[in-house]
Subunit: 191 residues, 2 copies
DNA sequence: AATTATATTAAACACTATGTTGACTATCTT
DNA sequence: AAGATAGTCAACATAGTGTTTAATATAATT
């Protein structure tokens, strides 16, 4: 009982198509990348492309979903563990992961990336904190949602600046700063 | 000595092309809008389109630049005036402007909008505040820049949520909240 | 190792959009 | 009213799209 995906030919095809697409994506905008172009670079027949994806955007979405899965799994490893990491260490791990996957992260989290994907990632990271914000005294549910939106996109902006600056500041620096900013916000607001 | 733009024919052509483009843009993504489609809707010959714009993205960029100019002029009216508005009233004016230009703002500031444009707008609005942040004691220039990036994109996220929610909360509510959040951040950080 | 199953290929197909051209017409400015 | 400029129209070559066919290559199965 084999999954279709297990076929080595399929794996190879998808792999080179993704590689070529990412290569092209780092040179120009997705709207100017043609399917023909991807296939020629990957040396894959165009008909084969259509056997797996509908268009460039479909391919992009599927690459993003994989990255999202990887990040999720990576984070699970630290949230579920008993090795008591405090919040700063937790977030530091995230920045280390971003640094290790710099090329992909630059493309998808960067200025030109997909906004939906970015929000999904940030929500994943921040969702642990929303509850305590909701329960804070003196803050209505609606207000809390706005603080939440502010914080999620704010973190994203800081990460994008970090990526654009060539990730010079250490993961530790970024972590301490963001934890201070994001964590401090609700209190500042209530106060 | 006439500028080309003064020609009524040119004005008309550009006007209907923009109208049709915006109409199409509110129905589907820019990547799926063809030049042929725009011209047919506007009842303008395709050759004429190419006389003014290179492609959809060029047209989009030019519409954005005009919107940016309008917002700038609008803001100047309040920052340069002597009618002493405090900061909350200032920001409230911005939200009133957004509300008046809901259709365009939704398209360009919303989730699917252009990120460059969004940052330009937010920087325009927030640049007055950066100096005092820079001069705050105990904050390095680099850290201040990250706080700035955090704040600008954070405000953007809150505005997008507001637009997505149908602009139900009053401009006053949004203004008071954002001033509290953005203004409070540097202090919280230092503290 | 031989057989079966399936993924990929190559070529052709009709279709649509692109970007440019040149001759003609309508409208502007002075 | 005259000259300049913008827009129209039709045609054109080019390029990408998405699908289909039979042939081929590779994987999985026994």
């Amino acid at each position: 009982m084999n999954r279709e995906k297990d076929d080595r030919r399929v794996k190879y095809t998808k792999m080179v198509l993704k590689e070529s697409f990412i290569k092209l994506l780092s040179h120009k905008d997705i709207s100017h990348i043609t399917i023909k172009e991807i296939c020629e670079d990957a040396d894959i027949n165009r008909a084969t492309f259509y056997a797996h994806y509908t268009d460039q955007y479909d391919l992009m979405r599927k690459i993003e979903n994989e990255l999202f899965q990887n990040v999720s799994v990576y984070l699970e490893g630290y949230t579920h563990n008993e090795a008591n990491l405090d919040r700063v260490e937790m977030v530091e791990k995230i920045f280390e992961y971003l640094k290790q996957n710099a090329q992909l992260c630059r493309l998808f989290l960067g200025e030109r990336g997909d906004i939906d994907f970015q929000k999904r990632i940030m929500t994943l990271i921040y969702e642990k904190n929303i509850d305590e914000l909701m329960n804070a005294q003196g803050v209505s549910k609606e207000t809390a949602e706005y603080i939440y939106a502010f914080t999620v996109t704010g973190c994203l902006g800081a990460i994008q600046k970090w990526l654009d600056d060539g990730m010079k500041k250490s993961p530790r620096f970024m972590s301490e700063m963001l934890v201070k900013l994001a964590g401090g916000l609700p209190k500042v607001f209530v106060k």
